[in-house]
Structure formats: structure tokens, C-alpha cells
Symmetry: C2
Subunit: 154 residues, 2 copies
């Protein structure tokens, strides 16, 4: 269950984006803010099961699509067939394991400059009016490196 602080914050976020505040939206957003496990729709339904026992799958999909449209949340694919979601409070990108699908958040000082410079270059070269980006890096997570008996040759 999300803390009161999170509930207050998410309430404000919904209002700031002029989104109608329903219990479903509020609770789902709070779940995303307080969990960084890159959940699927199924994971989210399980996670909010206590507060929203009868939430419809369509509602969760609708809600997430709304959040994505408002850039509150980003969609991620890790190859397991379903979409994963991530609250995007602070700029970061994702490292995705090509073996087990594990997704981890990554950021570093200066990342936001890299991003901005990529967007600027893209605008110049393509004529697009840029609204956002996605960066992902693929590889084997530390656990899978061990599991597969791969030794890092450095």
C-alpha cells in the first residue's frame, strides 16, 4: 500500500495534468510511483488487488494509455510478449537483459545532456518537432552472465 505522501503527490500529479481523479487512476499511479519493478498489466492488477479487487483489465489498459499519452509513464518491451510500464519521474533509461528480460533503470550525471543533444540533432536532421525519446541498452545481466558461465574477458 502506498504511503500518504505518495498518495498526496500522485493526486497533485493527476490534477496538474487535468486528469479526472478516479480511485482507479489514483491507486494505479500510486502503485507505479512506489514500485520500480517495471510491471505488466497483470502485475499491476495483482499489486492493486487489495484496493481495487474488481478492477477491469480494460480499465488498467485505458489508464496506462492515458498516462503514456501524458508522458507520466513509459512503455517497455523486454521480449516476453507483454508491455511493461515505468513511472518516469526522473530522466533515466533502461538496460534490458536479453536472456531473462530483467529491466533495470540507469542514469548518470550528464545523461540529460546526451538526451538533449540527441533530440537537437534529430530535429535538425529530420525536421521532426521532437517530443521525447527512448533509449535502451541490451546485454546480459550479472546473474545471467554467471548462470550461462560466461566470463568477462577484460
Amino acid at each position: 500500500m502506498a504511503s500518504n505522501a505518495v498518495m498526496e503527490e500522485t493526486l497533485q500529479v493527476l490534477k496538474d495534468h487535468k486528469l479526472r481523479v478516479t480511485p482507479q487512476r489514483h491507486i494505479i499511479l500510486a502503485y507505479l510511483v512506489s514500485h520500480h519493478n517495471h510491471p505488466t498489466v497483470e502485475t499491476i492488477r495483482d499489486g492493486v488487488g487489495k484496493e481495487l479487487p474488481n478492477v477491469g483489465a480494460s480499465t488498467v489498459y485505458n489508464t496506462l494509455n492515458t498516462f503514456v499519452d501524458h508522458h507520466l509513464v513509459v512503455e517497455l518491451q523486454n521480449g516476453d510478449g507483454s508491455t511493461h510500464y515505468d513511472y518516469f519521474g526522473t530522466p533515466h533509461y533502461h538496460a534490458i537483459c536479453t536472456n531473462c528480460g530483467r529491466i533495470v533503470d540507469v542514469t548518470y550525471p550528464g545523461f540529460s545532456d546526451t538526451e538533449k543533444s540527441l533530440e537537437k540533432k534529430t530535429a535538425e536532421l529530420s525536421g521532426y518537432m521532437i517530443s521525447g525519446n527512448h533509449m535502451e541498452v541490451y546485454g546480459l545481466c550479472p546473474e545471467c552472465q554467471i548462470k550461462l558461465g560466461i566470463k568477462n574477458n577484460e
Copy 2:
């Protein structure tokens, strides 16, 4: 129909990757090499209809998944529900229109440095053994800017 030069090149690419050379693989790869329209499976089946009139959908999917595994091809989502494919002969990334789904290839001198630096940072921070990345930039393509009557405020 792909040129002889393309057919020779793709034959070599398949052999280099130790992939069994079937007509289906050869023709589909040649199609991807000579078309930069980021096709879907459906588009590809139409495109190779003359050479492979009875190619099965499964075959096209299998072939593309094999190419993806071998990093010959990358997968792209533009929000229309189906996967788009792109031959990845030279390093580049994609700008995707959030309105019409149009995908364009983008690159610039120094892009490969940006990529390498992102991968290096990621390896350090996450412990992943990096094998690749995806970068995408979103925005409105020039046509949609006009269509939607948006003026660039610069």
C-alpha cells in the same frame, strides 16, 4: 526485384553468419537490404510476392526473428500494433512520428561515439555485458506538423 549486386552481398551476409541459405531467407534479406521503408511482415509478404508467392507467415516471422537474433535486423514499434523491421547495415537510429507512425532513419557524424559512450556508462553502472542498444526519438513529422496546423515557434 533486388539487383544482382544485392543478391551477392546478401548471400555473403548469410554465409558469414553461418545461416543456412534458403531461397526464402535470401529473398527476404535482399528485400530488406534494398528497401528502407521499415516494413511489417505483411508488407514484406506483399513485397516478395513475385519471387515467393506462397511464403508462409510463419516462415517470414521465423526468418525475421533469426535475423534479429543475429543482429542483422532490428525491430521497431510505431504504435500501429505490428512490428516493423529494418536492415541494420550502418549504425543509425529512428525518429518516429507520434501522429502518423512514419519512421525515418537518422544518423550523424559522432553518433557512434554517443552510442559507445552510452554503452560504456551502462556497463559500468549496471554490470550488464552489453550487446547492443536502441535509440528512438519521438515527435511530429514535417507533414503532420502542417496537417495539424502547428507552427514551429522559433
